[in-house]
Amino acid sequence: MNLTSSPSPTSGARAKHPTSTRFTRALGIAALVGIGWLVLFGLFLSPNDRVQKTGVRILYIHVPSAWLAYLAFGVTGLSSAAYLWKRTRNLQWDRLAGASAEVGVLFMGITLVSGSLWGRISWGQFWTWDARLTTTAFLFVTYIGYLAVRDLGGTHQQRAKRSAVMALLAMLEVPLVHFSVKWWRPLHQNETVEKGKLNGLMLFSLFIGLISFTLLYVWLVIHRQRVLALNDQVDDRGLDLALAARREES
């Protein structure tokens, strides 16, 4: 096999975006259009809330990103379980878990930022120690730890097994943290936006947010797990390539 082959001339786009396929390109465009709509409706076309005034606009991105972060961590847990179960053991599950966790950490990070900005408007403070916020912060840190465990090294199988166990332990930890914090601070914020209070255009903006962020999540995870697959292959061939490079130099 020719290890040093350069990309063939017909694959210019592929060299630029090696993890793209026609499907991901369509998905990406759909997500981008959705985000455009979200900005248009969320910032301009939808009305102000009677109570929250313009602050309600933050919710159109805050709620979808929070929901996606939870979904992402759920996907990580499920695919970790799929990896640990011997009959479905496949490194593909491990890479899906890793990709989803990373995207989840991204979404959780921006959820915390947009949430505290919203809190500053609605509650007059960036942070309150209520159960949901605190659990969210713990989730964020826990999955940063999970990503660090993925980078510990070893063979791909070691990494997969170790991080899958970590992901399941995180699923064990999260409810414990949630309930202990809930008992610790029993007074938590009421749902500030009741369902009936959002009018049609507001609900529609939130709906666009959910759809476009979900598309974005799927798009990001597909790409990310392909990048992880590429990295695994680079690792597998690392030694061969190093030897080839050395031969070329001399």
Binding site: M1, N2, L3, S5, P7, S8, S11, R14, A15, K16, H17, P18, T19, T21, I35, V39, G42, L43, F44, N48, K53, T54, G55, R57, I58, I61, H62, S65, V103, L106, G109, I110, V113, S114, L117, W118, R120, I121, L216, L220, H223, R224, R226, V227, A229, L230, N231, Q233, V234, R237, L241
Partner: protein
Amino acid sequence: MIAMLHAPYVIGSYVVTLGGIALYTVGMFARARKAAKRLPNEERPWS
């Protein structure tokens, strides 16, 4: 129309959210290109 009362917070949250995702995406593609440069084309089962 956006009431200008809390506009910096609202716009800031949109910028952080969309900007954060955009930065991550750019970084991810950079990593993809870096990895792909070290591999022959046929090693991509999805293409």
